[in-house]
Each structure stands twice: as structure tokens, then as C-alpha cells.
């Protein structure tokens, strides 16, 4: 992805209109993160310090049993700890439970056994609204099927999480423009999702996932519906989020080559962790 510049942060809004991602992604998003949101100033630019803090996510003996005529145990007493700033991939064959695990990590689904802790807080003890707020403030999702709102323009799709959070309109505009510029989608700001290619949709989804400055990005087969060129582009964006911003990224993928680019690979089989491998430079095994 040679299109990404690595120089000083661009000021203003230089990239809008050319459609090519020619910015320093890390700097632009770092600016975005420093924007005041509801009076709090969040500084994400201390990955080394954050690595020493308590785990971002901790799954303790988590199980998920789908009841019905033929009960199905999708997850079987899984325990994982995800530290802040980690780049993790979850791999496994279809039906192994990796997407279910991702949903648990994203608090989109609740376990039938065990407990999920986000920054030390037990999710099961939170109210419905508190869990919603947790998702809003902490987690950004990138889905295989993009999940862009079909009725909203590219701009409005990226603006949506900010709107949900109650960010003032002017600040929203600023953040959306920066994020769209960062993924090279400024010139498509007023297009509907139906007018975008798969790769473009996923870039918009990444811009949206970043809107509320999450601590964690969960990507469920983000390149599953893309051609190889778009896949490479999208993955480059996601990997840079980790490298430049130190955001924790958890990636569910079938693609072993892609998984190899991450620091830690959790292999799932029949709802259980088969292996949990860290690259040497990334730290110890937790499995």
C-alpha cells in the first residue's frame, strides 16, 4: 500500500476530492482521537504504557449453548485474555465457533456460562444500556458484509456512531471528513452504499469503526467478500490502525496468510481453543 504517506500530519482537509489515500493515516486518526468528545480528551498515543495495564478483555470459562431441538455447544469453557494494543487473529474452520467468540468479545451476544470482563468489569452485571454504551465507547466493528445503512450516504454512515454518542454536529463533520480522507473515500462522501464497490464499502466501514475512537477493533472476515486487491488495501488499513495507533485489533479470518501477519493466532476447533500462539516479539502464550 504505497499510497500511504508517512510524513508529517497533513493539516486541513487536503485529500478530499482526489479519492486516493495519500495521508499519514496514523497522524490523521491521532488528531481525530484527540478531539474533545463530551468533555473528555482521550490520548491513545501511549501503546507501551497501555500494554502494562490490566487486560482489555478477559473471557473466563465462557460457554455458549444454543438450545433447541438439537442443542449445540458453540463455545466450550473458553478462557482468553486480550491485552491492550494486541493484534490477534482468530482462525478455525467453518462452524468452529470463531464468529460466536468474536460476538462474545464484542458484547453483541451473552454467554450461557462463564464471564466476560471488559477492562475488569463483568459484562453480565451490566444493564442493557450500559452494555450498549460500552460497545459505543470501546469497540469498533468491521463486518464481512460491511453492514452499511443502505438509506444513508457514505458521510452519514460514518457519522452515525458519532450521532449515537451525541457528538456536536461541527465536531462530527470534522471527524467524518478526516476519517473518510484517511481511507480515501472523500470523493464518495455523498454516495449511497449501493453506489460503492465492495472494497470501498469496507473502507467506509473502517472509517465508521474508528469514528468514536474505540480501544478495540473487531473485524469479522473483513476481506471475505473482497477481491485480492481490495483485500490487500483493507488489510493494510486495519494493520496500520494497530501499528500507528496501537489500537487492539482482533481479526476473525479463514485466511492463514492474513493470520500470519498478526502477533497472536488463536486457533478454534469445535468451540474450544486448539492453540494460542504469540510471535516471539509479541509476548508469551496465554493459552
Amino acid at each position: 500500500m504505497g499510497a500511504w504517506a508517512t510524513g508529517n500530519p497533513s493539516r486541513g482537509n487536503p485529500g478530499i476530492g482526489n479519492g486516493r489515500p495519500n495521508f499519514n493515516l496514523g497522524s490523521i486518526w491521532a488528531q481525530t482521537r484527540a478531539v474533545h468528545i463530551k468533555g473528555t480528551r482521550v490520548n491513545y498515543n501511549m501503546p507501551a504504557q497501555r500494554m502494562q495495564e490490566q487486560p482489555l478483555l478477559h473471557l473466563q470459562e465462557v460457554s455458549k449453548l444454543y438450545s433447541g431441538e438439537t442443542p449445540f455447544l458453540a463455545l466450550d469453557r473458553i478462557s482468553i485474555e486480550i491485552k491492550k494494543g494486541e493484534l490477534v487473529s482468530i482462525v478455525g474452520p467453518s462452524g468452529s465457533g470463531k464468529s460466536t467468540l468474536l460476538h462474545m468479545l464484542g458484547c453483541l451476544d451473552m454467554p450461557t456460562g462463564g464471564e466476560i470482563f471488559v477492562e475488569g468489569k463483568a459484562v453480565s452485571k451490566m444493564s442493557d444500556d450500559a452494555v450498549a454504551d460500552l460497545r459505543r465507547d470501546t469497540i469498533g466493528f468491521v463486518f464481512q458484509e460491511f453492514n452499511l445503512a443502505p438509506t444513508l450516504s457514505t458521510f452519514a454512515n460514518v457519522e452515525l456512531p458519532l450521532m449515537i454518542r451525541g457528538v456536536p454536529k461541527e465536531t462530527r463533520r470534522e471527524i467524518v471528513e478526516r476519517n473518510l480522507a484517511a481511507v480515501g473515500m472523500s470523493d464518495k462522501a455523498h454516495n449511497l452504499p449501493s453506489q460503492l464497490s465492495g472494497g470501498q464499502k469496507q473502507r467506509v466501514a473502517i472509517a465508521r469503526a474508528l469514528a468514536n475512537s474505540p480501544k478495540l477493533i473487531l473485524a469479522d472476515e473483513p476481506t471475505g467478500n473482497l477481491d485480492s486487491k481490495s483485500s490487500a488495501e483493507v488489510m493494510s488499513h486495519i494493520l496500520q490502525l494497530h501499528k500507528k495507533l496501537g489500537i487492539t485489533v482482533i481479526l476473525v479470518t479463514h485466511d492463514h496468510a492474513l493470520a500470519e501477519k498478526t502477533d497472536r493466532i488463536i486457533r478454534i476447533m469445535d468451540g474450544k481453543i486448539e492453540s494460542d500462539t504469540r510471535k516471539k516479539h509479541a509476548g508469551k502464550n496465554t493459552g
Binding site: 464484542g106 450498549a132 454504551d133 460497545r135 466493528f141 453492514n147 438509506t151 456512531p161 465508521r208
Partner: protein, 404 residues
């Protein structure tokens, strides 16, 4: 999320599914337009009745023999209700005389009346003849003389024609012409002004003196009706109450067995209002059915909308939208359907009322009716939207995201 932003999102969603949205809106439009149009008819009828009542005379009290029953509410002569009927109860001339001394009674007209054959040249027709006391006439008919003169005390063979009798029935200058009533000759000495009230039989009657009528109808014991003109500054309802008490004591009957009817403009108005209100409720009730059907249409459209947008709901939830906000979003959508349907429905009702007016039906759309129409349609939208909105809010995010 601000309400204005939710409204914007809801509007966006409605616009995206425009055909289905318009079909749902159409249901509300038809409901609201039919409710307002039909109620506007009863408002128009009420207006027309009230306008006609104005011609009856606000200070006139009418006493008729027989208790008031809805099925004998008949238009009587001289501009008042309550003509004699087959029901029990009679009032004598002697009793009528005793009412003259009641406080607030300015003039009292004890009448004898009936239908008679009237001949003039080659015309022979049946007309209502009212024998009136010349001292009270034409005040007791809440009218004035258009031309000629009123009846004199000793006028036993003079007649005053109602406006329609003079202009329509005979259709020529009748002053000083001789007419025959049941073959008794009378000379026309005057013509009354138009009363302007379709309730009043004044325009369609011939007035002769009470004494002449007694002879004509061989009736010298019982009155057909009594018309009392209340004195200036006195309340006709108070005068009516005094008359009622007096007659009850003269007839030695209780209120429950009252054998006469006392009517004032106020009692008449309230009776008529209750009739027109019943009409409004009846017509509104019929039209409500269409609005309820429209509401079911909105509910159906909302359920479809929720189903169609299940994945979007999942997305909203994954982005951290609270359950209440999702519910509010869909309620906004339903209320918007109601609001737009209400506004268009009101506009359509003006057109429908205009068409009905063209067919001669009196209609009037009041500001209250407009507010009622729009308010009701928003409520219908909201009520129809509650269940789908609750469904939308309760979908677990992961299931919603998986929905195909």
C-alpha cells in the same frame, strides 16, 4: 441521539421505502379525510339550525298542551315548537289568563290554530291558520309587518299573511284582497316580513284574530298553544320556570306527570345541539372505522419496516444505540406516517367538504376539527407503531446482524 436527529433518520428511512410509506400514509389520509368531512357535515347542519333558531325570537316562551316526547316534536305555528298533538293534556283559556300576571310576562298570546281550506279566485289550498291575540301580534310571532297593518282588537274578518303565503302561494299583491277561509270571507290587511327561519311556520301561515279562529274552528275552551313574550331585561328561562310552576299547580300534577311543554330558545337549542352532537358522534364513529383500518395499515407497514431493517437495527445496536433509542426511532417513523397522513387528510377533507357543499349539504371545518384530525392521526400512528417499535428494540444485536 437528539430527537431531531432521530426524526431525520426516521424520515430518511420512510423516504427510502417511499412506495410502502405512501401506501401506509394513504390509509391515514382516507381515515382523517372521511372523519373530518363527515363531522363537518354535522357542524354545518348545526350552524344552519342555530342560524334558523335565531329567527324564532330569543325572548319568546312557548307553552303547548301535552308532555314533551321526542316523537311528537313537531313544528308549530307562529315560529314556535310544540303544536297540539294527540298526547294527553289541555290548557284552558282561563288558565292562560292566569299566566298573564307572572313576573316577566310582557305579552301573552293564547292561540287557536288549525288547517283550513283557503280560497282566492281560482286557488284553493290548505293553509295553517293561527288565531292570535291582536294585542300581542306580531311580537308573539317574533316578526314585523312588511306592508299593510297588523290585526286590530275588533278585527274579526281581517287576516295578515305570512311572507311565503303572500309571495309564493298567491304570488301577487294581496293587500285589501278578499280571501275565504273555510268559506268565511276575510280581508287581507297586512303581510309579515320573512322570518328567515325554516323552523318557523310563520311564513307559511295566515294570522287572524283569536276570536275569529274560535268561531272558525268552534273552539272556545282550550288553547292550541300559548306564546309569551318576556319583558325586556327579564330572562326567558326564568319566566318559563315561573309559567311551569304555575301550570303545574293549576293542573295539580307533579313534574314527572307534566302534561304541557314549555319551550324557550335555550331549551330548543340544547335539544337540537344534543341531536346534532349525536349525529356528529354517529358520523365520526363511522369514519373512525376507516381511520382504524388506516392504523392497521400503519402497523402492518411498520412491522414490514422493522423486518426489512432488522440488519440495520443490528448495526445500530452494535454501534451502541440503546434499546430505548431504537424504539424511539421506529415510533418516530410511525408518528411521521400519522402526521403526514393527517396533514394531507385535512387538506383532502377541505376538497371533500367543498364537493359536499356543491350538493347542498351544509359543511364547516373548524380549527378544532383540523387539530383533532391531525392529533388523532399522530396518535393512531404512534399506537400502531408501539408494537413494531418494541419488537425492533428487543431484537438481540447478534440475531439482527445475522438476519437475511
Amino acid at each position: 441521539m437528539k430527537n431531531s436527529e432521530l426524526a431525520e433518520l426516521a424520515f430518511n428511512s420512510l423516504r427510502y421505502r417511499s412506495l410502502r410509506s405512501w401506501l401506509a400514509i394513504l390509509g391515514i389520509v382516507i381515515g382523517v379525510a372521511s372523519i373530518i368531512s363527515l363531522i363537518s357535515i354535522s357542524v354545518g347542519i348545526n350552524d344552519s339550525i342555530q342560524k334558523n333558531l335565531g329567527g324564532l325570537g330569543a325572548n319568546v316562551v312557548t307553552i303547548s298542551p301535552g308532555g314533551l316526547r321526542a316523537d311528537r316534536f313537531v313544528v308549530g305555528g307562529g315560529g314556535q315548537f310544540g303544536a297540539p298533538t294527540a298526547t294527553e293534556g289541555k290548557i284552558t283559556f282561563r288558565e292562560a289568563d292566569q299566566l298573564r300576571s307572572i313576573a316577566g310576562v310582557s305579552r301573552l298570546d293564547a292561540r287557536v290554530q288549525g288547517n283550513a281550506r283557503v280560497n282566492y279566485r281560482n286557488k284553493n289550498t290548505s293553509i295553517s291558520i293561527i288565531g292570535t291575540e291582536p294585542s300581542a301580534f306580531p311580537l308573539s310571532a317574533a316578526n314585523t309587518i312588511l306592508y299593510g297593518r297588523s290585526l286590530g282588537i275588533g278585527d274579526l274578518s281581517s287576516a295578515v299573511l305570512g311572507y311565503s303565503v303572500a309571495t309564493s302561494t298567491f304570488n301577487e299583491s294581496m293587500l285589501n284582497k278578499q280571501i275565504k277561509i273555510n268559506n268565511v270571507p276575510f280581508r287581507v290587511v297586512g303581510v309579515l316580513n320573512q322570518s328567515g327561519s325554516s323552523f318557523s311556520a310563520t311564513d307559511r301561515s295566515i294570522f287572524i284574530s283569536q276570536k275569529a279562529a274560535e268561531k272558525l274552528f268552534s273552539q272556545n275552551q282550550y288553547v292550541s298553544s300559548i306564546v309569551v313574550v318576556a319583558a325586556d331585561g327579564s330572562n326567558p328561562d326564568t319566566v318559563a320556570a315561573g309559567i311551569t310552576q304555575k301550570l303545574l299547580s293549576l293542573h295539580r300534577v307533579s313534574v314527572e306527570k307534566q302534561d304541557f311543554t314549555v319551550t324557550t330558545a335555550t331549551t330548543l337549542q340544547s335539544t337540537i345541539s344534543s341531536v346534532t352532537n349525536t349525529l356528529a358522534i354517529f358520523l365520526g364513529g363511522i369514519a373512525s372505522i376507516s381511520l382504524i383500518v388506516g392504523g392497521i395499515g400503519v402497523a402492518n407497514a411498520m412491522f414490514t419496516s422493522v423486518l426489512e431493517q432488522t440488519k440495520y437495527i443490528g448495526l445500530l445496536k452494535s454501534l451502541g444505540t440503546r434499546r430505548g433509542t431504537v424504539m424511539k426511532l421506529f415510533l418516530f417513523e410511525a408518528c411521521m406516517v400519522g402526521l403526514v397522513g393527517g396533514v394531507i387528510g385535512v387538506a383532502l377533507s377541505f376538497a371533500v367538504s367543498g364537493v359536499l357543499g356543491g350538493f347542498g349539504l351544509p359543511t364547516r371545518i373548524t380549527p378544532e376539527l383540523i387539530l383533532l384530525g391531525i392529533g388523532f392521526s399522530i396518535i393512531i400512528g404512534a399506537v400502531s407503531g408501539i408494537l413494531p417499535a418494541r419488537n425492533a428494540a428487543s431484537v438481540p444485536p447478534v440475531e439482527a446482524l445475522r438476519y437475511e
